[in-house]
């Protein structure tokens, strides 16, 4: 085997791996998803703070149903960019679990923030906690998901 040819083949394989990694970087959810999630978080916070308990239940169920409807289309992570649709083989099948895990963590974070704010004696603890977490989701959702995916190698 010509050593130049084998070196050339190695470099070609590295270029193939690099191209695949670049496309994999696009795995994620559209920006609009995160802002819609942030808006929902604030609305739930407002209702939780000021609304009657039956409205809290209805709003939570509607939020869950709306998310489930979106989730079936978006959670595979293949529509993170307008410029490319990541293949199913590259996207893998762990991204939906990472997103759902992230949402569970954010709910826990909201509850913890509300308890802290309440303990501090500030008013409208649930609302402030929802606003803080909504800002985290809206501004940092894609980056948090990317980091979590890297951690779990999804």
């Amino acid at each position: 085997m010509d050593p130049v040819a084998s070196q050339d083949a190695g470099e070609a394989l590295a270029a193939v791996a690099h191209a695949r990694r670049q496309v994999a970087e696009e795995i994620g959810l559209p920006r609009g998803y995160w802002w819609a999630m942030a808006a929902g978080w604030v609305v739930l916070g407002v209702i939780g703070e000021f609304g009657p308990s039956w409205l809290v239940i209805v709003a939570t169920v509607l939020f869950g149903a709306g998310h489930a409807a979106l989730a079936s289309r978006l959670l595979d992570g293949r529509r993170g960019s307008d410029g490319v649709r990541v293949s199913a083989a590259v996207a893998g099948h762990r991204t939906p679990y990472v997103v759902v895990g992230m949402l569970v963590l954010l709910v826990a974070l909201t509850v913890a923030a509300a308890l802290l704010i309440d303990a501090d004696g500030a008013g409208h603890a649930a609302l402030w906690a929802a606003v803080v977490v909504a800002a985290v989701v809206g501004f940092g959702g894609p980056e948090i998901l990317r980091t979590l995916r890297r951690w779990v190698r999804a």
């Binding site: 085997m1 083949a9 070609a12 191209a19 490319v84 649709r85 990541v86």
Partner: protein, 101 residues
């Protein structure tokens, strides 16, 4: 099972990166490919035309808003040729490893 087959058409560096990018996607838009591969519009058009002529790539012009956007995707023949080419490259590297090891 992929049959290893070195493909002279795919192997040049720019074309290999282009095909590898398309192989990792269902489709990609012209602007995405141009930016990721660092090519000029004309250079990318030329590469896509070559691959389309060989039946490896299909392109589609879509109207989005007021702008036409070009989408490219790998055909089944293109995907098969790419997988065969990658397998051939792996064989070359493996054989070189055996020869030197």
């Amino acid at each position: 099972m992929t049959t290893a087959r070195f493909d002279e058409l795919i192997h040049p560096a720019t074309r290999l990166s282009l095909v590898a990018t398309l192989a990792a996607a269902d489709w990609a838009e012209f602007a995405y490919l141009r930016d990721r591969l660092g090519l000029s519009d004309s250079a990318l058009s030329k590469q896509l035309a070559t691959l389309e002529e060989a039946g490896y790539v299909a392109t589609e012009r879509r109207l989005e808003g007021r702008r036409h956007k070009l989408r490219a995707r790998l055909t089944a023949a293109g995907r098969s040729a790419f997988e065969g080419h990658v397998a051939a490259l792996e064989e070359i590297v493996a054989a070189a490893g055996l020869a030197t090891g």
